[in-house]
Amino acid sequence: MTFTPITVNQQEFTELPHDLYIPPEALQVFLEMFEGPLDLLLYLIRKQNIDIKEIPITKITDQYISYINAMQVLNIELAGEYLLMAAVLLEIKSRILLPAPAQSELASEEDEGDPRQELIRRLIEYEQIKLAAENLNKIPQPDRDYRWLEILVEETTPELPNVTPEQLKKAWQTLLIRSLTSRSQHHMKKQELSVREHMTQILRHLQENGKSNFFALFKIEQGTAHVVVNFIAILELGKEGAVLIMQDEKMDIFVELAVE
């Protein structure tokens, strides 16, 4: 897309002849490639192998403006910065054309030196960042140039406190003693106690009240049979994974729904 300067009859052409046909789309792609006026200027300078510190301002200004005109002809949306740069270039050009002021005491006050200085500084600074950006882009980036390694490890379930059989036995004995001591004054009719029914009751109780103290699940007054069946029901629920039987720091035993 770029035009390499060619020499014809010992005359160097750095720009395409005006009567040379370039498809407008191609030119448009080329012109839209620039990141702004500084980038366009740098291109003009580098293309012609001009020392950035010795910019021939008249020549560069003319070339710059012809590019701007081309952009306007092609209806490329021209950012204000491009026009601002044209004004800057024209100002520098006009100042260079003016005869240098005679050395006087006035000059010292506004001694600006080379009118190109600020532009040169900006061009160098921009080119530095432009090249730095290219270097930065060569550094491998995740997902573009490499992938972070992630070996999937199966999610582990949270650690639950263990209840030892010994502790359960003790709890059971406590219950038994309590039920025996409260061995009721009256036990009239034989109750048909189903373990499954108790399991349901316990689950319902836990559903309504949430986590429950182990002892709170027993109705001592209902007698030993109830306590036995209820205890088996809790163990059965624990075995089936319907409830969690846990112990806290105070060694109190709790029963909780195994949610999910």
Partner: protein, 198 residues
């Protein structure tokens, strides 16, 4: 410390780093060993571990916040086929903005605009924020209190470096001037490809 223990520690660290889903810091590894080993030992062992992966498809790299395994960049094209991905490349505008923030931080948006000579595109800055590569580190005491932008540790981690000093040095423009014209033409041609994304 016996040789057997060292090789044991190495295996543990290997398991930790391979199963991690993020960069693992030295401190985290020290915790794994209940601080029974020193930071120097960890560094030494990680170095040794990394050397074991030299002839492999993956590599263990040291970044700003710790250690992490990654696939070797030279095999990315194969991974792209496996995962059916087409890696996005950032445009020049994005990379130049990032370069200014990386090399001139902390900087304001205004300073970025001055340097590039064009108005800043808020999408570009947002893109860098979204990537978690840049962050606001303060405000300049100027009218409007402009935000001061800087790069993040994540940026260093992703670039595979431990500090900003490890970024490629800013090019010397006098040297760059020797650029042959062919280079420039290639450079401008390649830019067209880069414009594909963002």
């Amino acid at each position: 410390m016996s040789v057997a223990t060292l090789s044991h520690i190495k295996k543990v660290i290997e398991a930790c780093l391979l199963t991690a889903t993020d960069v693992i810091a030295v401190d985290q590894l020290l915790d794994v060993f209940d601080n029974q080993i020193s930071e120097d030992t960890v560094k030494l062992i990680v170095e040794e571990l990394a050397s074991e992966y030299i002839d492999s498809g993956i590599e263990l790299i040291t970044v700003a916040s710790g250690y992490r395994f990654r696939s070797r960049p030279e095999f990315q094209s194969y991974l792209n086929k496996l995962y059916n991905t087409k890696p996005a490349r950032y445009s020049r505008a994005v990379m130049e903005t990032l370069a200014i923030i990386a090399y001139r931080q902390p900087v304001t948006r205004g300073e970025i605009e001055n340097l590039r000579g064009v108005a800043i595109n808020s999408n570009i800055v947002q893109l860098l924020f979204d990537r978690n590569w840049i962050e606001v580190v303060g405000h300049k005491q100027l009218p409007g209190k402009p935000e001061l932008l800087a790069t993040t540790t994540q940026f260093l981690d992703d670039m595979g470096i431990q500090s900003l000093e490890e970024l490629p040095p800013l090019p010397n423009i006098n040297e760059a001037f020797i650029n042959s014209e062919q280079d420039l033409i290639e450079e401008y041609d390649s830019q067209k490809e880069n414009e594909e994304n963002v």
